[in-house]
């Protein structure tokens, strides 16, 4: 589930290659991009993750210059590019529809950006062949685009966007329309390409698994706002708000009041249930807070006696999912049943159970955090 342990450049180590600050794009009264600040480091693979309509593609299109922005600044290698037209930004972009030119051969598609740059003819043939090698598709240069399979088209689109060595490569959900197997194959391809060549990548997706597998860092978007930026693991373990928690994986989100007493910090629900938590930063005692419990972090046991620790509840739903069994447990004092993913699936419907969890795996955020 988590990113490969790959050396991620530290923010302090290198200056950002690309920076958005206070960027706003509005359509009428609605802000499609709402004051977004973002720094991308050199050679980073960054993913913007969010549901459809959250503004992630809009950011990408603003970076490419396909749409103008209404406020804020956009700099690439320290240069403000707000008034630089798309064709002079030297950015590579792969579209969801791929946008390969249907009336050209594969060679002409890949040669297109080189010809637009008036590269010498001899170089063009060499560099097209080179970039086809990089995406591991030699010997298809003379074919027409529609003669290629879906996976081959993806690779051609990547080759075309990389052949002129852009500093920044934008991927606008190019894998979105693929079936599961091909999508996983292409994800590995992108990771491999990113290791082999010197390029910074910004990827956009609504697929949380893809985001975490591919990326050095992930930014979660909702309703035009950037909710949280961090490694996949940080987002998963330490979500900044309930939206991020809800969007990544299967989490139980329980509202209540934070109490810090002798038994340690806990969120007390209005119904009186007590959930032991690790609070984010310094939430003062008595503050409204939200506890976030991952379904797979909850341990479930049939109680020997009612004096054992944890919350008591009753199984209301049991679904066999293959690698785990999914339960819903009605707990007195908590409005919605808690969702639990358990590896031991022996407990039947209607059974009384006790739920426990390690305190450090349950995170609490102040309720006024966005989301």
């Amino acid at each position: 589930m988590t990113a490969q342990p790959r050396p991620v450049p530290e923010a302090s180590a290198q200056p950002a290659i690309f920076r958005l600050s206070g960027v706003v794009k509005s359509y009428g009264p609605h802000n499609a991009i709402d004051h977004v600040d973002l720094e991308i480091r050199p050679r980073e693979l960054f993913t913007l993750l969010g549901p459809s309509g959250s503004g992630k593609s809009t950011i990408l299109r603003a970076i490419a210059g396909l749409i103008g922005i209404d406020g804020g600044s956009l700099t690439i290698e320290g240069r403000d590019v707000r008034n630089v037209p798309t064709h002079q930004r030297n950015i590579g972009m792969v579209f969801q529809s791929l946008a390969l030119f249907p009336h050209m051969s594969v060679f002409d598609n890949i040669a297109f950006p080189l010809r637009m740059r008036r590269e010498p003819q001899g170089d063009i043939a060499r560099r097209v062949a080179q970039s086809l090698d990089i995406v591991r598709l030699p010997k298809i240069a003379e074919r027409r685009v529609h003669e290629l399979s879906g996976g081959q088209q993806q690779r051609v689109a990547l080759a075309r966007a990389l052949v002129y060595n852009p500093k920044l490569l934008l991927l606008d959900e190019p894998l979105g329309a693929l079936d599961k197997r091909l999508r996983e194959e292409m994800q590995l391809e992108i990771v491999r390409l990113h290791r082999e060549i010197d390029v910074t990548i910004i990827n956009v997706t609504h697929d949380q698994v893809e985001a975490m597998v591919l990326s050095d860092r992930v930014g979660v978007m909702s309703d035009g706002k950037l909710m949280q930026v961090g490694s996949g693991e940080v987002l998963y373990r330490r979500p900044a708000n309930r939206f991020v928690a809800d969007f990544l994986g299967r989490a139980n989100v329980v509202d209540g009041t934070l109490r810090i007493d002798g038994a340690g910090p806990a969120v007390i629900t209005p119904g009186g249930a007590r959930i032991a938590v690790t609070p984010e930063r310094q939430i003062p005692d008595g503050r409204r807070a939200t506890a976030i419990l991952r379904a797979e972090d909850i341990e479930m046991a049939v109680p020997g006696d009612s004096g054992s620790p944890g919350l008591g509840g009753e199984v209301t739903l049991r679904l066999f999912e293959g690698e785990a069994v999914y339960y819903e447990i009605a707990v007195p004092g908590i409005g919605r049943p808690l969702r639990v993913a358990s590896r031991t699936g022996e407990i039947p419907n209607g059974a009384k159970v006790r739920l426990t969890w390690p305190r450090d795996k349950v995170w609490a955020v102040a309720e006024d955090s966005d989301g």
Binding site: P85, A99, F112, M116
Partner: protein, 262 residues
């Protein structure tokens, strides 16, 4: 779906459309001094008569000139206009769109009379170009629809991709947009060409005796029993229409245009 009513209607429509085509083609290869049915014999006499008839031949030449003028005018006016109306959002877009179909929304005879009144005032009657201008105006929407429909089916991401790859607006248009809408331009051009060479009502009001186009000459000869060379001319028109239609349908975009136009 396969009910008797549907089958009967289909058969009737096929007869309604196909029988006249067949009759014209048969008549155009009939022997004998007068056109009768069934023809007395089969021969290529009508076509020989057509070649031998200076007046009809000259009329055919004029109609072809009109056809080419119509195509040139339609392309100059129609292609950029279709691009503007489909690809840009601007003030008066709706109103200008309506203005463009004025020639179709006005009954043809009223348009023809408007041209007559205007060109008479301008002293332009007696030349071919007023006829071409009139025909272009009433047929312009066909070319514009054709171009617009291929613009609609052109993925706008293609042009954006060209821009990210470093193409200026001019290069994007020449290398991406234009090839993409070429099928639409081609079918629109063919359509306005055949409509141009066969147009009648506008020519009828704007012609003077020394610039008769072929449809006018054919009409004049039909006041009495039509001579064989008229059958040959009609045969040529039918062949041209069939040829153009087959080209259009093999362009595939046309099938899409009519079959799934939305």
């Amino acid at each position: 779906m396969r009910g008797p009513v549907i089958r009967l209607s289909l058969a009737f429509v096929i007869l309604l459309v196909a029988v006249p085509l067949a009759i014209v083609l048969v008549a155009s290869v009939s022997g004998g001094e007068r056109l009768t049915f069934p023809p007395e014999s089969l021969s290529l006499n009508p076509y020989r008569a057509l070649v031998g008839n200076d007046e009809i031949r000259a009329a055919l030449g004029r109609s072809l000139i009109v056809g080419f003028q119509v195509v040139a005018l339609s392309l100059i006016a129609g292609v950029p206009a279709a691009i503007a109306l489909v690809r840009f959002r601007f003030r008066f877009r709706f109103g200008l769109g309506i203005y463009m179909i004025l020639g179709v929304a006005t009954p043809l005879i009223a348009s023809a009379f408007a041209f007559l009144a205007l060109f008479t005032q301008m002293g332009a009657l007696g030349a071919l170009w007023p006829i071409s201008v009139g025909i272009t105006i009433v047929n312009l929407p066909f070319l514009m629809f054709s171009v617009a429909s291929s613009l609609f089916s052109l993925d706008p991401r293609l042009e954006e991709a060209a821009a990210t790859l470093g193409a200026e607006g001019v290069q994007t248009f020449l290398f991406v947009t234009l090839p993409g809408i070429m099928p639409g331009i081609l079918s629109g051009t063919l359509m306005v060409f055949v409509l141009g060479i066969s147009e009648f009502v506008i020519s009828l009001l704007l012609f003077t005796i020394n610039i008769q186009t072929l449809p006018i000459a054919m009409f004049a000869s039909m006041r009495g029993p039509p001579p064989p060379e008229v059958a040959a001319a009609a045969g040529l028109y039918v062949l041209a229409a069939v040829l153009v239609v087959i080209t259009l349908t093999s362009l595939k975009s046309t099938e899409q245009f009519f079959y799934r136009a939305d």
